[in-house]
């Protein structure tokens, strides 16, 4: 199903290749830790902030280029964070635009064309967050976290047919991260015999997984390997909870969000949910529970009803007339939530800077103009600069619709990955985007 991809560093891709040949009975090694660390000793974090259905390019692109960019109407909510946000415009997702929304999303986040548009599609390779999670996510409780606000689809894939769905319930996320097993930094590990009992159960489950796997064909074995990987990750998490937590000054147990944030008149409370999630995520990163996240405000093609909108978001992009004031308002509302998230990260002091300075948050949508599913002028914001790896506070404009994969390669290399190239076939690039790199 998946063809070999030049330059892919997917662990599963490697495994798939071996299983396709004669090497069977292979066990998946737990990857060696590969820390990407800032000069101050803090880990580099990576996050994707995704929203569906694009923007209005004419009202998005900043009015000036270079440092101190003058915000456009749609980027106005980011004014206060301008010095930490680089706006990349004029880049294009170069894959064939055969499937509205999905071609763009897959092309942007995996660097490659999607697989099989007519009979349903899949990615051919992991999304950028999972490429990084496999490298820099192994020292923490969670290799990566997925969060969805309007829905559970996060556009995070560990490989073909391996979607990572997001947690949509802030209270459930709170309980997972800061519930009974949470220990304040500087203290000792969780002393709870049930953690050991759960590990014994998982050992039994791993035994079953191993026996079942030996009866399966290649594709099912790969699926079960992903399952096994998840169980091993859970087991390792339980072991780490029994150890002393990282001693991080900024880490405190946050206030619990409400147990329920109900819809009002059939409309989801997007802003309240998004902010509750942002606060939890900021503290999960501050406590070094994870270093990689995907945060999806609403999925590609989503018909979520914004508070004052007359129709679902996707419908509006296609059916609203004139200058599309409601579509514009929706984009602005999303940018307000991005600003809140970035602000929450920037409010965490870490040594020589803030958590945001030690991170790279990439805000993207799968199209630019939703009405026509344009893949040129693809919206791309890069916040934080990954502690001095990438340019911050600039508006960088591509003059010739350059391939967005160049920027993606710069992003990946900011985490010290020795990646020869990104993309596949015609979309492959082997150089980063020079204006972005320091």
């Amino acid at each position: 199903m998946t063809r070999p991809t030049p330059g892919s560093i997917s662990r599963r891709g490697v495994l798939r290749g071996l299983l396709g040949g004669s090497a069977v009975g292979l066990t998946l090694p737990w990857l060696e830790a590969h820390a990407s660390t800032c000069a101050s000793g803090f880990p580099r974090r990576f996050g994707v902030f995704f929203w569906g259905n694009g923007n209005l390019p004419d009202r998005w692109t900043p009015l000036t280029t270079g440092a101190g960019w003058e915000p456009s109407e749609q980027l106005a909510p980011l004014l206060g964070l301008r010095s930490k946000v680089t706006v990349c415009t004029g880049l294009e997702v170069k894959v064939p635009n055969v499937s509205p929304h999905w071609s763009g999303a897959v092309g942007l986040l995996t660097g490659q064309d999607l697989d099989g548009a007519d009979e349903g599609w899949s990615v051919r390779a992991p999304t950028v967050d999972q490429v990084l999670a496999a490298e820099i996510g192994n020292d923490t409780l969670y290799r990566s976290l997925q969060i969805g606000i309007a829905d559970a689809e996060c556009f995070s894939y560990s490989g073909a047919n391996q979607p990572n769905y997001g947690e949509t319930d802030p209270f459930a996320l709170y309980q997972r991260l800061f519930g009974d097993t949470f220990r304040d930094p500087g203290g000792s590990g969780t002393v709870d015999p049930s953690l050991g009992f759960r590990r014994s159960v998982l050992d039994a489950v791993l035994g079953d997984l191993g026996r079942l796997s030996s009866r399966l064909g290649t594709e099912d074995r790969i699926r079960l390997e992903a399952h096994t990987d998840g169980v091993r990750g859970l087991e390792q998490r339980l072991a780490r909870l029994q150890e002393a937590p990282p001693d991080l000054a900024a880490c405190v147990r946050p206030e619990a969000p409400p147990e329920s944030i109900p819809d009002i008149d059939g409309r989801i409370q997007l802003s309240r949910r998004s902010r509750a999630m942002s606060d939890l995520l900021a503290m999960a990163l501050a406590c070094d529970q994870t270093r990689v996240f995907s945060f999806s405000h609403h999925r590609a093609l989503s018909n979520v009803l914004f508070p004052a909108a007359s129709d679902g978001h996707h419908n509006l992009t296609h059916n609203e007339g004139g200058a599309q004031p409601e579509v514009h308002e929706a984009t602005v509302a999303v940018m307000e939530e991005l600003a809140y998230l970035l602000g929450a990260l920037d409010a965490v002091d870490e040594g020589d800077g803030t958590l945001l300075d030690h991170a790279l948050v990439m805000a993207v949508s799968e199209v630019s103009e939703g009405r026509t599913h344009r893949l040129d002028e693809i919206p791309l914001l890069l916040a934080g600069g990954a502690c001095g790896k990438l340019v911050t506070g600039h508006h960088l404009r591509s003059q010739g619709n350059e391939n967005v994969n160049h920027a993606m390669l710069s992003v990946l290399r900011a985490f010290d990955l020795s990646l020869p190239s990104w993309g596949a076939d015609d979309t492959t690039v082997d150089t980063g985007w020079a204006p972005l790199e320091l």
Binding site: V98, P100, F197, S200, D208, H227, N319, T372
Partner: protein, 531 residues
Amino acid sequence: MRVLTGLTLVALVGCNAEEPPADTAPPSQLLPEEPAAQPSPARLRRLTTAQYEASARHVLGDQVAMPSTLEPDGEAIGFASAAAAIDALSALGVERYEDAAYFLADQRVADADAMAAWLPCAPVDAADTACVAASVEVLGERAWRRPLEAEEVDALVALWAELAQADSPPTAWRYTLAALLQSPYFLYRVEVGEEGLLRPHEWATRVSFLLWAAPPDDELLAAAADGSLDTAEGRAAAVERLLADPRFEAGIRGFVTEWFHLERLDDFDKDPLIFQHAHPELGPAAREETLQLAAWLGTSDADWRELLTSSVSFVDPRLAALYEVPAPTLEGFGPVTFGPERRGVLGHVSVLSGHSHATRTSATGRGLFVRSTLLCQPVPEPPADVDTSLPEPDTTSPTLRDRLTTHLEEPGCAVCHLITDPIGLGLEQFDAVGRFRTLEGGAPIDPSGELDGASFADAAELGGVVAEHASLPGCWVDRWWVYGAGGDPPYETNEWLAETFVASGHQLRPLLRAMATSEAFRRVESEGARR
């Protein structure tokens, strides 16, 4: 994640097939014989959420509350059951299965006396491992849908003993149950077979989920173990029992829920400022209506195409008010007869609202439902790089038909929209919630149209036209097969089952009997044999 954009080629072939002899074939006539067919690929199928819940109840009892969140169901070729044979489980999904296992086990062990009464054998102390083994064997067979190997029993008893030693027998049960429920043998239906055929327990599981939407009961497991299912007669007898059992109704409901994506009605998103009938409870009620009709037609051996033509439905007071018919009961659901404007599921709130936008109808969405879900006819995706905007309603174009004229006159749009929109416009007399109306923007709505050469005057006639469509038998057979087997049917098998469906008067039981007892349904090709 996959989006249904087109279906099998079988449906296309169906377009050219002869008109089915709808009323001529009595169910008792000799049915066609099964042709030879290619085996289907062996698959590992993770339980869908609905299947997980049915399985957990089967092990732990009907009274246990279900976990609120599991890995979301995916979708492939229209079915969660097919995606469950393709998608891998995420790390969060693993964690949620762990949470779910303890949530379920805790309910079982909360009351020590009730627990002791429930266990097949309740050990008197931590040393009583023979009794533990006896319980593990019974519970394990129910959970894993096959007898446990001796080593598997030993491993679980050793886990129990370790925990009973470290803590107490009730604690040991908590974790032993959690181990059973997190095992891949519980979470996956293993359909990999042996020498090209499903093993008896694998077949029993496939048939049980097909006909009952639930795991095999003790009797079926016993038949698998004692060799009864090794013969065609034994398998036929087992299928007969399942079809005659009241649980067959749950099987029909399970299929229709996936086929029509009725789970989406939990999120009823219609704007209450526009639609006075919109209410969070309307979606679940609408689902129940459609499921009750489908189950009633199936279990009473009616022509199942009456799904599209029935004047009878089953509604609660909320739906009765929307349909403007007298409420049949004060609470719950009862039968009603629709007025002349409404027939079958194309008049149900479930379908009409489920294929509308939040604030208005969608002729394209409704037409797509008829084409792809009911007739399995592929509709291409819209091109990615065109402006798809419709004009705003105004005095020159008050109705959706007026506004869609652009789509139908622009060649690039018409190529697809002519496939869907004329059908959807036939349903325009129902608003985005499903309420009947004759005017839009003050102008009368014209619901007439044509479907592949057959004209209809309104929605009620449209149901009849779809019911008689040549693509229908092959399509519905295909849908049942994908649901039951997790992938597309072999071409010859689909043709044969379609003939069987037609020859038996489009009744559900003869079709499912033929499918479940067919050789094709138990043949699988292991990878070694394929390559």
